[in-house]
């Protein structure tokens, strides 16, 4: 009885035939998910009730239709479930660190060259403005990229 109560959610309702019968048992019967006593109860009810038999047949047809459905799935070459290896992650991290260090060194050297070079103040200002504009654009893209990185679904996928 305890098992019976666990299996059905809610009180015994009224079936399409107007009788007190837990209608959801029809789905359980269709799926072969009932206990022996529930199964027998549904079978006896269906023998005696045309309205529930019609509903059962309709649900059965519906399930057969869905089970037969074949789908066009994305092609195999669109899937890649291989996580990146530890070695790949190590090389990627090292590469980024070296690249950033190199960029900082080059930027500092260029700034020092510009500050101590023979160019006039107007030329230095023009160069500084141009380089600054490109740097600001680059930074804005970098910030956006870093912001979405935690939710990037493919960061661990080997491509």
């Amino acid at each position: 009885m305890a098992e019976r109560e666990d299996r059905l959610d809610g009180a015994e309702g009224v079936a399409p035939c107007g009788r007190r019968f837990p209608e959801e048992l029809l789905s359980g019967y269709l799926d072969g998910a009932l206990t022996q006593s529930e199964d027998q109860r549904v079978r006896l009810h269906l023998e005696d009730c045309a309205a529930c038999r019609v509903l059962y047949d309709e649900l059965k047809t519906l399930r057969e239709t869905t089970m037969k459905t074949r789908f066009v799935l994305p092609a195999d070459d669109q899937w890649d479930e291989r996580p990146r290896s530890a070695l790949s992650r190590l090389f990627r991290g090292t590469g980024w660190t070296l690249t950033v260090a190199w960029l900082v060194a080059v930027a500092l050297f260029a700034a020092w060259q510009l500050a101590t070079g023979p160019e006039s103040a107007v030329e230095k200002l023009a160069i500084f403005a141009g380089v600054s504009a490109v740097a600001v654009l680059f930074l804005s893209v970098l910030i956006d990229r870093l912001r979405v990185l935690p939710g990037d679904r493919y960061r661990r996928v080997k491509k």
């Binding site: 109560e5 666990d6 299996r7 059905l8 959610d9 809610g10 209608e23 959801e24 048992l25 029809l26 789905s27 359980g28 799926d31 998910a33 019609v54 509903l55 047949d57 309709e58 649900l59 047809t61 519906l62 399930r63 239709t65 869905t66 089970m67 037969k68 459905t69 074949r70 789908f71 066009v72 799935l73 994305p74 669109q78 899937w79 890649d80 479930e81 291989r82 996580p83 939710g151 679904r153 661990r156 996928v157």
Partner: protein, 215 residues
């Protein structure tokens, strides 16, 4: 080195390299995949793609988002194979991940309205029902399948997901209860309500019982 043996013989294939077929259980595949068997990983991925994609497609209604979420779910399965309990099926675990990832995506896009589901009778931008001739369905059958799939998209999300899990993926009630995090009794009653709602939508769309039984 034995000179009497003119050609080197191929060493016997290790157990993990022998043919991987559909007869292997998920547990056996996972065990092999954990040991680094590439064939087992590929077979496991092949088994997981369809259920992951279909559930994501019905939850998200967009083929591109569905592929993203399904692929993400598969990636999570493969990166957490060590946590898989032997003797269980991979599919409920996978469906739980897909459901969570789909919810995350929907939450992050709450302000962006969803597009209607693709896959129905020519109005979609991508066909998802395979209409190729097969032994199991006629042209009328394919048409009915496409219609059912399209109508399914009009149900509330809770009914859509339970119908996909049971009627398209054939998960047991126990497995569905685990995926949805609901009691077993709720599965039967929610599933029944969903089936009735779908049937009523189809009837409202002009489908008769006779028309349905043709497919």
């Amino acid at each position: 080195m034995a000179l009497s043996q003119p050609f080197p013989t191929r060493p016997a294939a290790p157990a993990s390299a022998r043919s991987i077929g559909p007869d292997l259980t998920d547990g056996e595949l996972v065990a092999r995949a954990r040991r680094g068997d590439g064939q087992a990983r590929e077979e496991l991925a092949r088994r997981c793609r369809r259920p992951a994609y279909l559930l994501a497609l019905q939850l998200l209604r967009d083929p591109d988002d569905a592929l993203d979420v399904a692929q993400d779910a598969l990636l999570r399965v493969f990166t957490h194979l060590d946590g898989f309990e032997p003797g269980r099926s991979v599919q409920p675990w996978l469906c739980t991940i897909v459901r969570n990832r789909a919810r995350d995506l929907q939450r992050s896009r709450r302000r962006r309205p969803l597009e209607p589901l693709a896959g129905a009778e020519g109005e979609s931008r991508r066909e998802v029902i395979d209409r190729a001739p097969g032994p199991e369905a006629t042209a009328a059958g394919h048409q009915l399948q496409a219609r059912v799939w399209r109508m399914l998209a009009e149900l509330p999300a809770a009914q859509r997901e339970i119908l996909v899990l049971r009627d398209y993926q054939d998960l047991s009630y126990d497995e569905i209860a685990g995926v949805l995090g609901v009691p077993l009794g709720t599965v039967m009653s929610r599933l029944h309500r969903a089936r009735k709602a779908l049937k009523e939508l189809l009837v409202a769309d002009g489908l008769t019982a006779a028309g349905a039984s043709d497919g």
